[in-house]
Subunit: 483 residues, 2 copies
């Protein structure tokens, strides 16, 4: 360990010589926002927050940190939900923010590819694609501030996974800086490449624990020129899946989103989210949001949606439904579904989950989870909302602000509820984290639920690529002593 | 190395006790077909060809071989084009054929998933999907005999990559037996799973060098119920790409294949492939095959195709075209495009390639490759055919049978032509092997062209998962002494 030889002062001087003095932040006024996670659950500390301007600078930072034994926490838009971008280990660490590396390096409509730096805001990439008559389909709540490097490092999901896959499926090429400063240049614009192991897959979803993603070549798609969005009231998750099968038969791959909203979540949204309006006369146990889209400007989607709903009514699968007739109505429907992390805090103490199970197991999952939580906490408000087309239902458990006397009491209840949900998920062949990743928040649950052979291989890969455990340490894995 | 301690006889007895005597083949009459590759370029030898009937048996075989220091070459349908399934190292080796493991373990129309064992024939999986009104989209020449384990291990491509991705994008879960016999059970039916590193990606496309794929969960899709296929005559690759852009605008994601056939390849097919007929009055420099499909039975694709072609004529991009009006005509068009490996041997000495470049670089690629080869070998017949929508044009160079006096002369010319093509591909940011993989055939070219940092990391991963180099040794990598 060479770290003893390098004082913090000397290291800071070196960092400054690499990126320029103004891009090495040490004043708490400047760094504070980058040392706390998006949900304000974690507060970390670092020698500095460093903002490199190029891949070469990132590589040089990595070499410098390797020589000094300093840890590196890469950070994109800092919108992650699991504390993955906050420096939390008690050791010399720098945060490497990629925000200055926000150039669109190239866009090729003929190839339907875009080459971007890690710090590009997701929305900017969507916009560039749209300006060329194309679509970059990744879409999620934080798209106005999250960065593509973070999306890649967390294998982001969102509302169009059903049609386009998650982030992993949208990456053609990747540039990564390894722990020792090697630049792994895999920025190929190829649709097919079987020349050896597909190394980029290692870094997608690795949450910065194996290297720093600095740039990527992404797939683009034909833009959606016709759209139809419906909101339905349904009696059960079983009926929702029956409707999903029917929708697949009618719309095929044109379905871009198939989302479910539970009754109590809907109540919550209507109460706390400004500007939301219940579009139905009565309540229902579940609400389904179906969006279909077509690249053809004259695709008869509206007629197809009417036909689909007419048959669904006739079959007794839907009790009421609306079809958006304007952009404003489309937005009003989506508003009922979209993220409300901020509002949760107003409503009380919440515990959010990101489970997935096989699509067909969701009725069982929902029933068992609700029953399990209510048996242990009869006063819990168990809300459900999510991507039923992907098997990914978010369970949000809400308690009144005053429910828990101490933070420890809250944590104990939170752990108990995690166990209830995780056990059901595991029995059904599910995952404790479908799209949010592991970060700091889920590492204990990962250690408890992951197949030991898989966890062992994960640790071996981590040790291979980051032998000194300097790349985003303390994330994904529990310390060996606790494992 | 414990191998000295175990005699061949003792090992064979142990193998027989695992899988049963009749499934350990040692008689050359029985093993011959499995020790020669599909193109009959490689002839290997093995202690035995072993046919396990279950994952547990594969795991036990792996443990036994680990203890004995015996190498394992996994083999599916033995239809690979790069010698990847032939045992070629001078050391104790067994071939593990997966053909008995051919059960469809489960199919879920509601989830659009199918769980299959590695030995399932691709066509059988396509058939099972179709029987449930669904589509398994992987499609390639050998689909009647290749096995899904081989498709996964080579990350197979084929004629529908443009729409559905290659094999990697069709795998949801994977079961793999590691070198030490550990069964890595990742057979999850999940659309989303961010619980740690996505380990299955390591084994997809690894050509059996990191473990033995024993089962997989695959994605299914809505069946195609309307189809339109056209064959066009075009003047240049530039025009072909202009037509691709127009086709994307008209058909969007409905395009499942966009294939190109060069003039001399067309001549070759018409001459050597029985039952092929030229559908046009005159010849053209290039032919384009466009297939569009829709899951809706009444999709107006025929009208769209007519409109597309009318505008293409008007723009001067197409000189003649036909639209298939029957299944027989569809098949007749595809016959002009499909694999003719057998016929190549009749026509002369051939050298086949599997290059990819970024889609927009293909005009440059085609021109430079043709000029380069003809400058060195003015008598070469340079034929081109491939997946222009994916940037993957196969260059096939044909010489008369008597052109080379000795096998060494042929090899020298073959190496020289490889260099010409590979250099152009590398300059254009391409890959020397788009879909066929590396196997034995391409390992020298891989070593020459692959970025050294990537190759070094590939070797580290190989060493991590297979420290004794017993899993399909001699594939992908050159021996360290030659590298």
């Amino acid at each position: 360990m060479p770290s003893e030889a390098v004082t913090s002062e000397a290291l800071l001087a070196e960092l400054k010589s690499i990126v320029g003095e103004r891009y090495v932040l040490t004043d708490p006024v400047d760094t504070g926002g980058f040392l706390t996670d998006h949900r304000a659950r974690y507060h970390g500390s670092a020698l500095a927050v460093v903002r490199p301007g190029s891949t070469a600078e990132v590589a040089q930072l990595a070499r410098t940190c390797a020589a000094a034994g300093t840890a590196i926490v890469p950070q994109g838009g800092n919108t992650g939900l699991c504390g993955g971008a906050t420096p939390l280990e008690p050791r010399p660490t720098i945060v490497v923010r990629l925000d200055r590396m926000n150039r669109i390096r190239a866009i090729s409509p003929a190839e339907e590819t875009i080459t971007v730096e890690a710090g590009c805001i997701l929305q900017a990439i969507q916009g560039q694609a749209a300006a060329h008559g194309l679509l970059f389909p990744l879409s999620l709540g934080a798209e106005g501030s999250c960065q593509i490097g973070g999306n890649i490092s967390t294998n982001a999901g969102g509302i169009a996974v059903l049609r386009y896959g998650n982030m992993r499926q949208l990456v053609l090429g990747l540039e990564v800086v390894l722990a020792d400063g090697t630049v792994l240049d895999g920025l190929r614009r190829l649709r097919k490449d079987n020349a050896g192991y597909d190394l980029k897959q290692l870094f997608i979803g690795a949450e910065g624990t194996l290297g720093i993603v600095t740039a990527a070549v992404l797939k683009l798609f034909p833009a959606i020129r016709t759209r139809s969005i419906a909101l339905m009231q349904v009696a059960s998750v079983e009926d929702a899946l029956a409707l999903f099968a029917r929708a697949r038969a009618v719309f095929g791959e044109r379905i871009s989103s198939f989302e479910i909203i539970g009754s109590s979540y809907m109540d919550f949204v209507l109460r706390y989210v400004a500007g939301t309006v219940m579009p139905f006369a009565a309540k229902a146990p579940w609400y389904l949001l179906l969006e279909a889209g077509d690249s053809q400007p004259d695709a008869p989607l509206a007629a197809a949606m009417e036909g689909f709903l007419a048959e669904a009514f006739e079959a007794g699968l839907v009790s009421d439904a609306i079809i958006a007739a304007s952009l404003a109505q489309e937005e009003a429907i989506w508003k009922l579904r979209h993220g409300v992390t901020g509002e949760f805090k107003l409503a009380g103490k919440t515990m959010s989950h990101d489970t997935s199970v096989p699509v067909a197991e969701q009725p069982d999952f929902v029933k068992r989870v609700e029953a399990g939580i209510l048996a242990a906490y009869p006063d819990a408000n168990v809300m459900m909302v999510g991507h039923i087309g992907d098997g990914n239902i978010h369970v949000v458990v809400l308690f009144p602000h005053e429910r828990f006397a101490t933070a420890d009491d809250f944590e104990a209840a939170s752990d108990a509820i995690d166990m209830i949900i995780d056990d059901v998920a595991m029995e059904l062949g599910g995952s404790i984290t479908a799209e949010h990743g592991v970060g700091r928040t889920y590492r204990k649950r990962l250690a408890r639920t992951k197949n030991p052979d898989e966890l062992a291989l994960m640790r071996q890969i981590k040790a291979l690529l980051d032998p000194d455990n300097r790349m985003n340490p303390g994330k994904l894995f529990l310390p060996a002593t606790e494992a």
